[in-house]
């Protein structure tokens, strides 16, 4: 049986297609620029097909030592940061999801309370400094390890799991931790995948904490390296350094190079996205329903 197609559906599809187009076009434009020599960008306009294609930009980007160091640091950070955050958040959320947890309302309030305030940049910096975390890998992971928002979303999901499953597990002799690991977590894959994706994207894209806390260049993450490539020469610097600034422009970052750097840095996360996407939608729905 054919479904009836209403005008509203057609309209929605057209609008959404246009929207997708507007997103994809910018990607294509950047991709084309990354395969083009510098002067193409100066010409302006939208580029959908490379003229005079070249791999020079990619060669230059991939030759940079800092891109690879950045990659290493970012991957390490994303893996360690995401798994630690996920585990700790899940444990916290599980405890809070139990109605018999003593003073549950109090603890929940305490955690939710932090969502409305932020210490501000300098107090955060002082805290990290006094914890002795400056210029360490841990400064990228520990300060934002548990986000109240993720915790609440996860708690809501755990609350939706039937208590009986856990009880049956305990009857079989499992302790609390065993129940959590073997039963609760496997049943919660959608929410875990969702939060993991948020965390991973967050870690992958994070740059500001690196700028503030890290001084050792070899610990810089990919986004910091990328930013440096992207912003060179976009602002007019003081006149006194104009000659130097012009040289930088000549040799540093024409548009094509920027395009190549963007793709080198974005491609991995683009590749992961489609595979986690189905959990993403599902997890959000389930997590928020019984909020």
């Amino acid at each position: 049986m054919r479904e009836k197609v209403s005008w509203a559906d057609v309209l929605v599809h057209i609008i959404l297609t246009l929207f997708i187009f507007s997103v994809v076009l910018t990607f294509v434009h950047m991709l084309v620029l990354s395969f083009s020599p510098g002067y193409v960008a100066t010409k302006g306009g939208l580029h959908l097909w490379p003229e005079d294609p070249t791999l020079d930009n990619y060669a230059k980007v991939l030759k940079s030592k800092y891109i690879w160091l950045g990659y290493k640091n970012t991957i390490l950070r994303t893996l360690v940061g995401t798994s630690l955050s996920l585990f700790i958040t899940a444990m916290g959320a599980y405890a809070l999801s139990k109605a018999y947890f003593p003073h549950r309302a109090y603890w929940t309030l305490l955690i939710v309370f932090t969502m409305f305030f932020s210490g501000g940049l300098i107090p955060n910096y002082l805290l990290v400094r006094d914890l002795g975390l400056l210029d360490t890998f841990a400064s990228m992971i520990l300060p934002g390890m548990v986000s109240a928002y993720n915790l609440v979303i996860m708690r809501n999901y755990f609350q939706s799991l039937p208590e009986e499953i856990e009880e049956s597990c305990m009857i079989d002799g499992a302790g609390r931790f065993r129940t959590f690991i073997s039963v609760v977590l496997p049943l919660s894959k959608p929410i875990l995948a969702t939060v993991a994706l948020w965390l991973a994207v967050g870690h992958w894209n994070a740059w500001f904490d690196v700028l503030i806390y890290i001084t050792d260049e070899t610990r810089f993450t990919l986004q910091v390296v990328l930013r440096r490539i992207l912003i060179t020469g976009t602002q007019q610097m003081l006149e006194s350094t104009q000659v130097q600034e012009m040289n930088d422009y000549l040799q540093a970052s024409p548009e094509g190079l920027k395009g190549a750097a963007i793709f080198v840095a974005t491609l991995p996360i683009l590749c992961v996205y489609p595979f986690v996407q189905r959990y993403f939608v599902k997890g959000i729905m389930v997590g928020s329903l019984k909020g």
Binding site: G38, Y39, A41, T42, K43, G44, K65, Y66, L121, I122, Y125, L126, R129, L134, F208, L211, I212, T215, E217, F220, V224, R227, R228, I231, T232, G233, T234, Q235, Q236, M237, L238, E239, S240, T241, Q242, V243, Q244, M246, N247, D248, Y249, L250, Q251, A252, P254, E255, K258
Partner: protein, 542 residues
């Protein structure tokens, strides 16, 4: 003891390098951290400069110092440095910024300060070079201004500026598209035959817009865009997007924001806008992103005249024997190697005024500041200035730090100037110029340093030659130097008011008659206080 040290140091400086090895060692030792603007990190593995300099400092001057080059990203520099100052982890030498920021830091006790005599004692050669008016004493008249800039209101030094003739030179150049001039039959053999009055200039802009100079049969060209708006304000002796304090002809000062002649400039611009001669997109400027100096509208043949960039950006290849200035390269890539741009004189307005504004030849550079903790460690601060003097007097150390290794990183030209082979990223990695801030503000404050960095540079000569032409060089200056007491309170609000009003009048969303109301509002919102302060300053410093 300290005096002895100073005498010993002076002696050492006077002696040739080979004798210095046996001189009395300086007692201070330790690490000095420095954070200049770097376009990429310094790479210890590739370093050819920093560690050898430490070595030389030790061998020749007995200075046991380790340099720590801190990379702070340029785009967020202020934010990061502020955080580090608050956290007590700021580098010893960092970029404070312009006079406004430095004075704020000083008031908050965030940066170090010292007596002029302390500087003189520890960096005698630098002091003398500066106090004599810089390179060959060219800027003797500005020595007072120099010390004013270097010192806070209480007379203590908070930074070391330098003599910077570049900021007293026009930084923008008016240019036409040669192909359009040819198409319209306008002679352009020398700057003298191009339009020199505002009327002739405007007539040419109309022809650019109306006579199809690109010959494609479509009316798709404009005369000019944002940069020329500034030049037109300049022709009326005023400024479009900055605040200059100018003599009002009655013995006092007036802000360019509220000059009477602005109304004439606005009337003309409104007409250009209405007639389709001024690019309707002028508000967003001529640059579509990327390097700021690239004026896409001009390069791609949307407008025929522009003063968005400088003659350096549009340096022709023959000047340096390279591919040309950075924007010229883009130009030739788009318009072909046989195309060209024409440097032009500024159009003069009804009172004979022209051009944009220029600064004074004394500059903070990027405004280096010294961490407040150095106040408690005067020996270290003294060592920093001693090192500054070593950079100024020890040719070998200076060349190594500013240029690298001869033959590999630079070549010596016949006239004694140097040609650099490296781009800035490579220079950063190798350590060249990463100790800026220790050897002075961006450039070494010595005869030789200034010659190599500036006066011997062919780009600079190229500029100076062009400025010799009539109506190509002189610009107006802001009469008030330094900062008015209430400037930080009112500046940004008044800037916004001015910018918005001017655009609104040009594009017709506000009538020209509203200019008087704007002047009143400008005064009410703090302009009258600034005007009063400017006039007080003028009475004292005239």
């Amino acid at each position: 003891m300290k005096k002895l040290l100073v005498i010993a140091l002076c002696l050492m400086l006077a002696l040739p390098a080979f004798a210095m090895a046996d001189a009395t060692p300086i007692t201070w030792s330790g690490t000095i951290s420095v954070a200049p603007y770097l376009f990429g990190p310094w790479d210890e593995a590739k370093d050819i400069v920093v560690h050898p300099t430490e070595q030389l400092m030790k061998e020749r001057y007995g200075l046991d110092v380790t340099f720590d080059v801190v990379f702070v990203e340029n785009a967020n520099y202020r934010e990061i440095i502020n955080t580090r100052i608050a956290g007590g982890t700021a580098p010893d030498v960092f970029i404070g910024g312009d006079a406004v920021v430095l004075s704020q830091y000083y008031d908050q006790g965030a940066i170090a300060s010292w007596e002029v005599d302390f500087f003189k004692e520890n960096a005698p050669a630098t002091y003398e070079f500066l106090n004599n008016g810089g390179y060959q004493g060219r800027l003797k008249d500005y020595v007072d201004m120099f010390w004013k800039l270097a010192c806070a209101d209480d007379g203590k030094m908070t930074t070391v500026p330098y003599f910077d003739e570049q900021s007293a030179m026009p930084s923008k150049t008016l240019m036409y598209r040669e192909d359009w001039l040819d198409a319209l039959g306008v002679a352009h053999d020398s700057p003298d035959v191009l339009p020199k009055t505002l009327d002739d200039f405007v007539a040419l802009l109309y022809r650019f817009a109306n006579e199809d100079p690109d010959g494609n049969g479509v009316k798709d060209t404009y005369g000019c865009s944002e940069s020329v708006v500034r030049a037109i304000f300049g022709a009326y002796g005023s400024s479009y997007n900055s605040r200059l304090w100018l003599e009002d002809g009655e013995g006092g000062l007036i802000a360019s924001d509220v000059k009477e002649s602005n109304k004439d400039a606005l009337a003309l611009l409104k007409k250009l806008y209405d007639d389709g001669v001024l690019d309707p997109e002028f508000v967003t400027g001529e640059n579509n992103g990327g390097y700021w100096a690239v004026n896409h509208a001009f390069i791609n043949g949307v407008i025929g005249a522009s003063c968005h960039a400088s003659i350096d950006h549009y340096r022709r290849p023959d000047v340096m024997g390279d591919n040309g200035g950075p924007v010229a390269i883009e130009w030739y890539a788009i318009n072909g190697a046989d195309s060209d741009f024409v440097y032009a004189p500024w159009p003069a307005g009804p009172d004979g005024e022209y051009g944009l504004e220029v600064g004074y030849p004394v500059s903070l550079g990027t405004g280096y500041a010294y961490d407040a903790r150095l106040n408690d460690d005067p020996d270290k601060l003294a060592a920093i200035f001693k090192i500054m003097d070593i950079f100024g007097t020890d040719d070998e150390i200076m060349l190594l730090n500013c240029w690298g290794i001869e033959g590999e990183d630079y070549a010596v030209n016949e006239d004694g100037s140097l040609t650099n082979f490296l781009n800035t990223t490579d220079r950063n990695e190798k350590g060249i110029r990463v100790l800026r801030g220790l050897f002075g503000p961006e450039k070494v404050n010595s005869e030789r340093g200034m010659f190599l960095d500036f006066y011997g540079d062919k780009t600079i000569k190229n500029r100076l030659d062009f400025f010799e032409n009539d109506q190509c060089g002189m610009y107006r200056k802001n009469v008030v130097r330094g900062l008015l007491p209430s400037a930080s309170e009112y500046n940004s609000e008044l800037d916004t008011l001015r910018n918005e009003t001017f655009v609104a009048i040009i594009t017709g969303t506000q009538p020209l008659e509203s200019y008087e109301d704007y002047v009143q509002e400008w005064m009410d919102r703090g302009g009258d206080i600034l005007t009063e302060e400017a006039n007080e300053w003028y009475a004292e410093n005239k």
